[in-house]
Symmetry: C2
Subunit: 148 residues, 2 copies
Amino acid sequence: LKRKRVKNSECPVARALDVIGDWWTLLIVRDAFDGVRRFGDFQRSLNISKGILASRLKGLKEAGIVEHAPSTSGAHDEYTLTPKGRDLFLVIVSLRQWGEAHCFASGESHSVLVERATGRRVLTLRLPGRRSAELDDAKTTVRKAKST
Amino acid sequence: LKRKRVKNSECPVARALDVIGDWWTLLIVRDAFDGVRRFGDFQRSLNISKGILASRLKGLKEAGIVEHAPSTSGAHDEYTLTPKGRDLFLVIVSLRQWGEAHCFASGESHSVLVERATGRRVLTLRLPGRRSAELDDAKTTVRKAKST
């Protein structure tokens, strides 16, 4: 099942998904945020085949989202997020908050994202508006790119 | 290539991706936010086969993200987002803002999300902290679910 590439799309959502719109890819990024660094640790965490993991890490390196270097001790290689990769933080948080709200039965427990400074659960993401405290889909619209 | 289901994961990110972690699925949701309602219009917008579109819409209905009903005129069926689907707004916005920042060459134009009230581009998403204006990955950590 080959997915269509949209390299020339004018839509940033489509371009972003072209890079990271793969289930494994975003779980690898999630693990990297959680401190996973080594190939074998990603493999154990995700219960994923070596081949799929290697191909997804290769894609993430080519996209400039992870970088790959020997650990400070030199004993093994480590994968870490680049600044571009760390900028995916709010993508992961938005998925988490939607998942928390909609993917668990009441009473079912899940992991939580907490502030290190307070130990308390993070607040919800906000899209502040200039005339209203919060924007939602009804208060926004997409404007096409200006043709140049 | 069958992807692993993680229905029982304690991680909300994994559960969210289990539902929407598919490239086409999120593009369908994006189109629905942009006002696309009819099967043929999704098909034209996405340049996708009828079979794939039908299977993804079926999955979105089963997940409670879209609903499917005759239009008010009764002339055709329409797919619209449920409240659970509309809650994906910030997921789409986070992907858009990452895509805007990282997936376009300088000078290359892209569509923009604007506030209806002002016509101006939306501000960036924020994750407000209790002791700092903004949280990032370094200021947060994931705490495992309490076992019950």
